[in-house]
């Protein structure tokens, strides 16, 4: 399924709220959502020293690679991954075949708790992203690119 191509204010706020809630409910360090192409969509938690762009890309690369393995094994996808480190653990969950939900946590939480909260959140996020995608595809929607002229594009490169 396609990743969303347009993000609107309303859904953006909703998704952010879901991330914030999961972050606190799961006792996580960091929660973030990235689309399958590696674009970060929302994040919550201890983000100060975090290179979110890099993490998002590597998460998407990882999911792409596991997806490739899945199709070689005639599986549709491996929807959950868990990586255990000495201090930090990562739980990765594909949501509605579209986007990826990542929870980073330490000993303040547990795999059981994270799993439980992620499962509940998945349902909620699937609903939001389904709505988002059909909204973006609905005919009346105006893309901000409509107003961009060839001249604007030209100007971007005049330096």
């Amino acid at each position: 399924m396609d990743a969303p191509s347009l993000m609107f204010e309303e859904e953006f706020e909703e998704i952010q709220r879901v991330c914030d809630k999961l972050y606190s409910d799961a006792n996580g360090k960091v929660v973030f959502i990235v689309d399958k192409n590696g674009q970060p969509i929302a994040a919550a938690g201890e983000l100060e020293d975090l290179d979110l762009t890099s993490l998002a890309t590597l998460t998407a690369g990882n999911i792409a690679a596991t997806g490739g393995m899945a199709s070689l094994l005639e599986e549709s996808e491996f929807s959950t991954q868990f990586h255990e480190g000495e201090n930090t653990n990562i739980h990765i969950q594909i949501i509605g075949q579209r986007v990826i939900l990542v929870v980073i946590f330490d000993q303040r939480s547990s795999l059981g708790l994270v799993r439980l909260r992620v499962r509940k959140t998945s349902v909620e996020l699937t609903g939001i992203f389904d709505r988002l995608v059909s909204k973006a595809e609905s005919p009346g929607v105006k893309s901000p690119l409509d107003e961009i002229t060839d001249e604007d594009i030209e100007n971007l490169f005049n330096d």
Binding site: M7, E13, K36, T53, G61, D152, F157
Partner: protein
């Protein structure tokens, strides 16, 4: 596929550098990384073998300024050129908005270039893209070396569509930013067209 975030006012696009093994894809990104303002770039990630061959991809996030109040962000990727990494190349092409084909201009790499274009075409087709329509730029790299194929010959063999083409010496940065600007521009023009 481009991603437009109306809430955070960002436009995100994905550009992939393609081409045969050792043609200079990673070198292009390294040069861009080394010569871009620190606040316009993120970290460059290279998933490489111990001998510095690309194993999965290189990644470089870049900001190219604002258009009508929207920040433009480009995600540059390279694929691994070695023939046996084809499964990885397919994955990297997912969601691509524009392709730069980096040609190794040396005569003894002619065959490898042609095979790589064929491979690009096939891999794009599998994802439902068409090399004859996607934003596409060709860069003739390694022009500093001897035993080179002429530009005319390379054009004849590799640029059937007559897309914009640039001569380059990626190690010295010649042609690198010209190539990047050209593909970014094509991607924007296409984005504008397809969102109409």
């Amino acid at each position: 596929m481009s991603f437009i975030n109306i809430a955070s006012r960002e436009i995100n696009c994905k550009i992939v550098y393609y081409g045969p093994g050792l043609c200079g894809k990673t070198t292009n990104l390294q040069y861009i990384y080394g010569h871009t303002n620190p606040d316009a770039k993120g970290k460059m990630i290279s998933l490489a073998t111990e001998t510095d061959r690309t194993l999965f991809f290189d990644f470089l996030p870049l900001s190219l300024g604002e258009i009508r109040g929207f920040k433009t962000r480009f995600h540059l990727y390279t694929v691994p050129g070695q023939v046996f990494y084809n499964a990885s190349r397919k994955l990297i092409l997912k969601g691509v908005d524009g392709v730069v084909f980096v040609v190794d201009s040396q005569i003894d790499r002619l065959e490898a270039n042609i095979e790589s274009v064929e491979n690009l075409k096939e891999n794009l087709n599998e994802q439902g893209y068409d090399l004859d329509r996607i934003p596409y730029i060709i860069q003739y790299n390694k022009r500093d070396l001897t035993h080179l194929a002429s530009i005319e010959e390379l054009h004849e063999l590799l640029n059937h569509r007559s897309v914009p083409e640039f001569e380059a010496v990626a190690t010295m940065g010649i042609g690198v930013f010209e190539t990047l600007k050209a593909i970014a521009k094509l991607v924007f023009l296409e984005l504008k067209k397809s969102h109409r």
